[in-house]
């Protein structure tokens, strides 16, 4: 889907989220703790949110479609995948190019 393509190619880390979703919030907190600022796209604040959600489901993000995390333009997955990567020590290498020096 175009919008997903655009957003994920222009931003290092993108989290498709819903403002009421506590797991989406947890994932963004984790990224911030690791020194990166993801772009958070709230689907419930986007008039095209429904379209994006459908597209995400088509890409394999279902039950539920959010949070959907993209790093370097590629779909990483949902909370499970992010947590799993981090516990294996594989998340930090993925985001290292985008970590702020602060």
């Amino acid at each position: 889907m175009d919008k997903i393509e655009t957003l994920t190619s222009e931003n290092a880390i993108v989290v498709f989220s819903k403002s009421t979703c506590c797991l989406c919030y947890a994932v963004t907190i984790l990224f911030k703790e690791l020194g990166v600022e993801p772009l958070i796209h709230e689907l419930d604040h986007d008039p095209e949110g429904w379209e994006i959600e459908k597209a995400l489901v088509n890409q394999g993000c279902n039950s539920p479609p959010v949070p959907a995390v993209f790093i370097g333009g590629k779909l990483v997955g949902s909370t499970n995948e992010v947590m799993s990567l981090h516990l294996r020590g594989a998340l930090i290498p993925l985001i290292r190019p985008y970590q702020s020096l602060a």
Binding site: C22, I29, H86, R88, G89
Partner: protein, 359 residues
């Protein structure tokens, strides 16, 4: 002993003994115990005679003992009698407390047996394939889900202790690594089963799961989103393992990553509590004290996801820990974990019993 005191004793003896037998005299003496030293000595002798159940002594017997014991200081005897009384009193009090405790335990046991029968009935219904919601009372499905969980969890704990013991035996028996690894994988699968049954009850009643009532009291002290903090368990276990440097380094990194994951979920939990509170407070009033609960109910559904996510982190952490270890180290780690958890449960029992110790 001088002759005057001997005479004194003899005259007293003659006054009291002659018309009566020794035992009724003891009965009469009780009231006069402090008044006459000779009588006290005789009472003491009587006590000793009664204890040994020897009725064969003659009227001369006590008088002989009197002569021998006249040299004992009176206050020593007084003290001993007072101590005896005190000991008897304490003994009676202890017995009373013990009996009361037995009574209370009996009632508790009856109550528990009743509960158990009810639970068994419900589970039989569930296993028989009857739709639990047809049980005919509000929240029947939830009730049955909880009842089933409690039974399954108790069986899980039993089996876990058995597997821990098997691992211990295997480790000490010099079993080869392939066989040991098989046992390790089996123990890992058992933990996977735990997370499965927790997920099932989370869907039946997440509030029940998160409350931790299904755990023992000491385990509940460490409660974090429906279970233990995996990083805390790791911190307990790692010092008990013999690790190579690179293993220590990897496990240290894992503990850190785990803490970061836990922090993010903790903050997710706080956000959920906040939005739940808002949903309750801002729900539109519907009259008659009712309010629009749909948003609040949605939030509770989210809680289910959060708890299952926390369990996922627990499971992943356990798997990642064992991946970094040799079969022997993994076996030792699982043994230490199993023993630690059981120690917490045992401490709960001891803690609960602490007020029942005899005075």
């Amino acid at each position: 002993m001088n002759s005057s005191s001997t005479q004194y004793l003899n005259s007293k003896r003659m006054e009291v003994y002659e018309p009566m037998n020794p035992f009724s005299m003891w009965g009469d003496f009780k009231g006069n115990i402090y008044q006459d030293a000779a009588m006290i000595i005789e009472v003491d002798a009587k006590l000793e005679n009664q204890l040994s159940e020897d009725n064969s002594h003659t009227t001369h017997g006590p008088s002989n003992q009197c002569d021998q014991e006249a040299s004992k200081p009176v206050d020593k005897v007084l003290r001993r009698l007072a101590q005896n009384r005190e000991a008897a009193r304490k003994s009676r009090l202890r017995k009373k407390a013990y009996v009361q405790q037995l009574e209370a335990s009996r009632l508790k046991l009856l109550h528990l047996e009743q509960e158990l029968e009810q639970t068994k009935a419900q589970c039989a219904l569930m296993r028989g394939g009857v739709n639990a919601s047809q049980l005919g009372f509000p929240g029947a499905a939830t009730h049955a889900g909880i009842a089933a969980f409690e039974i399954e969890y108790e069986q899980w704990v039993d089996l876990q202790n058995k597997k821990t013991n098997n691992l211990k035996t295997a480790l000490n028996s010099g079993m080869d690594d392939t066989e040991l690894d098989r046992l390790v994988q089996d123990a890992l699968n058992h933990y996977a089963n735990l997370f499965n049954i927790k997920a099932t009850v989370a869907k039946a009643d997440v509030c029940y799961l998160i409350s931790g009532v299904w755990k023992t009291s000491i385990e509940r002290l460490f409660l974090w989103i429906g279970g233990f903090r995996p990083s805390e368990l790791l911190k307990v276990l790692v010092p008990q393992l013999q690790l190579l440097d690179h293993q220590s380094h990897d496990l240290y990194n894992l503990i850190q990553a785990c803490q970061q994951a836990e922090d993010s979920l903790s903050q997710g939990m706080e956000k959920l509590q906040q939005t739940l509170a808002e949903a309750v407070a801002c729900g539109q009033a519907l009259g008659g004290g009712c309010y629009e609960m749909r948003n609040a109910m949605d939030k509770l559904e989210e809680l289910v996801r959060l708890v299952i996510q926390a369990d996922y982190v627990r499971h992943e952490t356990l798997q990642q820990t064992l991946r970094n270890l040799t079969p022997r180290q993994a076996a030792q780690g699982l043994i230490s974990l199993g023993e630690y958890l059981q120690r917490l449960r045992d401490l709960s029992s001891t803690w609960a019993m602490r007020l029942c110790e005899p005075a």
